[in-house]
């Protein structure tokens, strides 16, 4: 029999960033909140103080979810078999307090107004025939303008770094001219960039493009946030993505929202505890979460008025599908067959890589945010009239934090032997002199790409793994070719001694890291016929269950998802705090 805990107002899956945001907003209103976190407790001190260990964190993925207990399966299409991701590859979900954001790269984007009106934009400008066959892209139920105050509040709360490109409609030179209007400038200036990033920016400007520094969730200087917490600026130490920050310069739930919620005394985190399912009553409403204490193996039940699925995209979708009852025979949120739709990933590739003989760029310093970016090829910045694809991509210069164990294997750049004297010579000559240009491209939603439960593979608690059916289509391959040409053009202008091009988008696979930006599966929409949740992540058919995170996204922009999922959590938190508990179990509008 499960150990039953006293009932609380809110229980969340995981203690990641959106859980921290909601716990902070709701404990402020006097609500009691418990988070069930499968990973360990972790804080900058002392857990990250001695972590400059590339082998443990980058190669062996010390901060990632425990894939030996639960993984995910993949197949390219419904005719072919699915196999599990047996070792980390295509994406890197984290665990522990702070969740994936504890090790994120902190590239902090607002999606643009276009991203929220995706389907309307293409249909109005080019006609319905422009959308690729099978595409199930749709408009979001929120607009950029509605989310702007939440983006703004979040950026000031964490101390975002960057240069505004559009202040209340006025374009600011040096910022991103394609971004939506901001009500305020960034609270902190942009981070320093790597040396080749300036070469990239100069070359891009000569070609008529508009480079700007990467907006980041990393503090570029010491910052005192609106709650009186002062944190150090970035040390550019070179151990950032896949690592926790030892000085809290990288904003995460650990630096801001989670400690604030804990200070209230009304928030509890149970670490090393893995959620099995959402429990449901005879009316089809949620009653709480069942979980396993991973230390003792005991089963627990945490009753709550409100259940928030605030895990990683794939965790949330899986829990919806695993939580069945007579009222929800196919899972919570799935009464109309909407769960699992619009599974997307991202194109993250280096189309061109240059070598600058004799140069030493110190690329081991800095981090993934120390770059210059172009939005000149992002979605609506491009005229798609004569192009054989829709959507677009950001394009950016060479990131820092280059670590030997994860980079020398790529050498030599260009032709040459990957072992022996030739390889060694390439290491000596090229290791700190090679300069990739990187794209982060949109991934559209298609009917044939979806999440469901795997019929064969299970986790260590004998529950089915989540399966995703996904592959690239011609739209992505054509977008890639377009971006490859732009990358080559810029690389030529950068004056590399030699350069090498990846001609085609490699076929989708499980082993090569792309991004941890899997999205969809529990998408938000205007009504129960086209989505799983409303604009607040409230599940249409089970209104006391909410979903946070990128599972809500109808399709995947060519930008990191974290800024938007945090803004959405702010909006949901405010709606819950102000309105939900007055009329519990009713849909927010």
């Amino acid at each position: 029999m499960a150990i039953v805990h006293p009932k609380v107002d809110v229980v969340t899956v995981g203690a990641g960033w959106t859980a921290g945001i909601l716990a902070w907003k709701l404990t402020n209103e006097g609500r009691s909140v418990v988070s069930i976190e499968q990973g360990p407790a972790q804080w900058a001190h002392p857990d990250f103080a001695w972590n400059h260990d590339s082998l443990r964190y980058s190669t062996r993925k010390a901060m990632m979810a425990n894939i030996s207990q639960e993984s995910w399966t993949w197949r390219p299409d419904a005719r072919r078999p699915s196999l599990p991701m047996r070792r980390f590859g295509a994406f890197h979900p984290g665990h522990g307090i702070g969740g994936s954001a504890a090790h994120w790269s902190a590239m902090l984007w607002r999606f643009t107004p276009y991203d929220f009106q995706y389907r309307s934009y293409y249909e109005e400008r080019y006609g319905e025939g422009k959308l690729p066959e099978g595409s199930t892209v749709q408009d979001w139920p929120v607009t950029y303008e509605e989310l702007e105050p939440y983006y703004d509040a979040f950026e000031y709360d964490i101390g975002a770094s960057g240069r505004a490109g559009n202040l209340e409609g006025e374009l600011i030179p040096g910022g991103n001219p394609f971004e939506g209007a901001r009500s305020r400038p960034f609270p902190n200036p942009p981070l320093e960039s790597t040396l080749p990033s300036y070469t990239f920016a100069d070359a891009a400007r000569r070609l008529g493009y508009h480079p700007f520094p990467q907006p980041s969730g990393i503090l570029s200087r010491a910052y005192t946030d609106p709650f009186g917490r002062t944190r150090s600026g970035c040390l550019y130490c070179g151990f950032c993505t896949r690592f926790g920050c030892e000085v809290d310069a990288k904003s995460t739930g650990l630096t801001t929202h989670t400690p604030l919620a804990l200070q209230s005394g009304r928030y509890e985190i149970r670490s090393q505890s893995k959620v099995l399912q959402v429990e449901l009553d005879g009316d089809g409403m949620a009653t709480g979460l069942t979980y396993i204490d991973l230390i003792t193996g005991e089963e627990h039940f945490q009753p709550a008025e409100l259940v928030i699925l605030s895990g990683y995209t794939l965790t949330n979708v899986r829990l919806l599908l695993l939580s069945r009852s007579r009222q929800h025979p196919d899972g919570v949120g799935n009464d109309r067959g909407q769960v699992g739709r619009n599974c997307t990933h991202q194109i993250w590739e280096n189309p061109a890589t240059g070598v600058f003989d004799g140069r030493r760029f110190n690329l081991f310093m800095g981090n993934t945010s120390t770059i210059q970016v172009l939005y000149d090829f992002y979605g609506n910045a491009v005229d798609h009239g004569d192009l054989d694809f829709i959507g677009g991509s950001s394009l950016f210069s060479t990131i820092g934090e280059r670590e030997p164990v994860t980079s020398v294997g790529n050498l030599p750049i260009g032709d040459g032997k990957r072992w022996g004297r030739e390889w060694k010579e390439a290491m000596r000559r090229q290791w700190d002199s090679y300069v990739p240009i990187t794209m982060q491209g949109e991934s559209l939603a298609y009917r044939q790409h979806f999440y469901d439960l795997d019929p064969i593979y299970k986790d260590t608690h004998d529950l089915p793994l989540l399966r995703f059916t996904f592959d690239w289509t011609d739209n992505e391959r054509n977008l890639y070719r377009f971006m490859r040409s732009r990358s080559e053009e810029i690389m030529r202008a950068m004056g590399a001694t030699s350069s090498s091009t990846q001609e085609e988008l490699p076929e989708y696979n499980l082993h090569a890291y792309k991004s941890t930006h899997m999205t969809g599966g529990a998408i938000m929409g205007h009504d129960p016929g086209d989505s799983v949740t409303n604009r607040y992540g409230q599940v249409w058919d089970t209104p006391n269950v909410f979903v946070t995170g990128a599972a809500l996204y109808p399709q995947n922009p060519g930008a990191n998802p974290t800024g938007t999922l945090a803004a959405l959590a702010y909006a949901t938190g405010d709606a819950l705090a102000a309105r939900y508990f007055r009329n519990p179990d009713e849909m927010l509008d």
Binding site: A44, S68, R87, G409, R418, W423, W431
Partner: protein
């Protein structure tokens, strides 16, 4: 494909037998094999070796159309530890280079010869041998069967096939997951072998090849001949994805059509070796390789530093000397670290949860 399966069965020894026996029958003496027949021979060996561990293998005539898979060495049902708990902590000190924890002396010599061919060096210009890569690999394999990161190891494991349709499987036996051989690389790492098994079997395959081609084991060959062996390994057939580096994270360990799925293909063994050479050469010296920071000196990488300044990012080259994590300055909130004062950080005032 059914033909190929029949052939595998026919080559499967009935009861006992070892890789050694099979080798002496299959390609003994100093008769030289061409590359292709070499791969065929080792493929048959691999299947044989896989079946030996299922001790009660019936005679070929009585076997079902598809033999049941032997349990991998550390599948949850077998004798070794269950779910992986945590990636090993950064060691407090490097392992003793004078002690071999896993390899036999001869295995160690072979590994070192292979590593030194993949990343050659000399006392003046250190490579894998001088950096102690062998020490790194030996220590790695001495714990948890060589697993140092979480791996999903629950069955069933994939079985490759070629042709239009997967082979039929009797309804009452274990149901393998059939995957078209040329599709398999897209699924990434799918091996049922432990890293220890990969080394034990891979090293036997290398020595068997070396004897058949050159009449001597690898460690007795000239440098040129050792290079030829490694060249063969690196160029051997089998689809391979982008191994090594941040994208590939090591090689595909599972099978290609030629070897079956029960032993590493030679090329897979090469990729594992190469990724371990990279780790041993360039990971922190606390892990047993990168002795005297030779890997980092070679690249001009300063290793574990607390901080760099914006002017350093804007300048080419660095005068910083490489250092290990063990040499990092101590670091407490409120104290100076390099040229920065460290402000209080999350957790310095509390420890929540457990």
């Amino acid at each position: 494909m059914p033909d190929d399966l029949d052939k595998r069965q026919a080559e499967t020894p009935g009861e006992s037998g070892s890789m050694g026996d099979a080798r002496s029958e299959g390609n003994g003496g100093d008769r030289r094999l061409d590359r292709r027949s070499f791969f065929k021979a080792t493929g048959a060996l691999a299947v044989a070796a896989g079946l030996v561990s299922a001790c009660d293998t019936p005679t070929p005539r009585e076997q079902p159309p598809v033999p049941p898979r032997p349990l991998p060495e550390s599948a949850p049902q077998s004798r070794v530890p269950g779910p992986f708990e945590e990636v090993p902590r950064t060691p407090a000190q490097a392992p003793d280079p004078a002690i071999l924890e896993f390899f036999s002396l001869q295995e160690a010599r072979t590994v070192e010869a292979l590593a030194a061919t993949i990343l050659p060096g000399s006392p003046d210009d250190p490579g894998a041998r001088e950096a102690g890569v062998l020490n790194y690999i030996d220590h790695l394999l001495s714990h948890r069967h060589g697993f140092a990161e979480a791996i999903y190891r629950l069955p069933p494991f994939a079985e490759p096939y070629s042709g239009e349709e997967p082979p039929s499987t009797p309804a009452d036996g274990p149901q393998p997951v059939w995957v078209q051989a040329d599709e398999l690389p897209r699924y990434g790492y799918q091996s049922s072998l432990t890293p220890r098994e990969i080394y034990r079997r891979g090293l036997q395959m290398v020595d068997s090849y070396s004897r058949s081609q050159y009449g001597a084991r690898l460690t007795d060959l000239s440098e040129d001949d050792q290079e030829s062996v490694v060249e063969t390994m690196a160029d051997s057939p089998g689809e391979l994805f982008d191994g090594g580096g941040v994208r590939g994270q090591g090689g595909q360990l599972g099978g290609d059509e030629e070897t079956g799925f029960h032993a590493p293909a030679l090329r897979e063994f090469f990729e594992v070796l190469r990724s371990h050479v990279i780790e041993g050469m360039f990971a922190d010296p606390l892990y047993g390789g990168n002795r005297d920071l030779v890997g980092w000196y070679m690249l001009g990488y300063p290793g574990a530093q607390r901080a760099y300044t914006p002017p350093e990012l804007r300048t080419e080259g660095t005068t910083r000397e490489p250092q290990s994590i063990a040499q990092l300055p101590h670091f407490h909130p409120g104290q100076p670290a390099n040229d920065h004062v460290i402000l209080p950080v999350s957790g310095s005032d509390r420890r929540e949860g457990r």
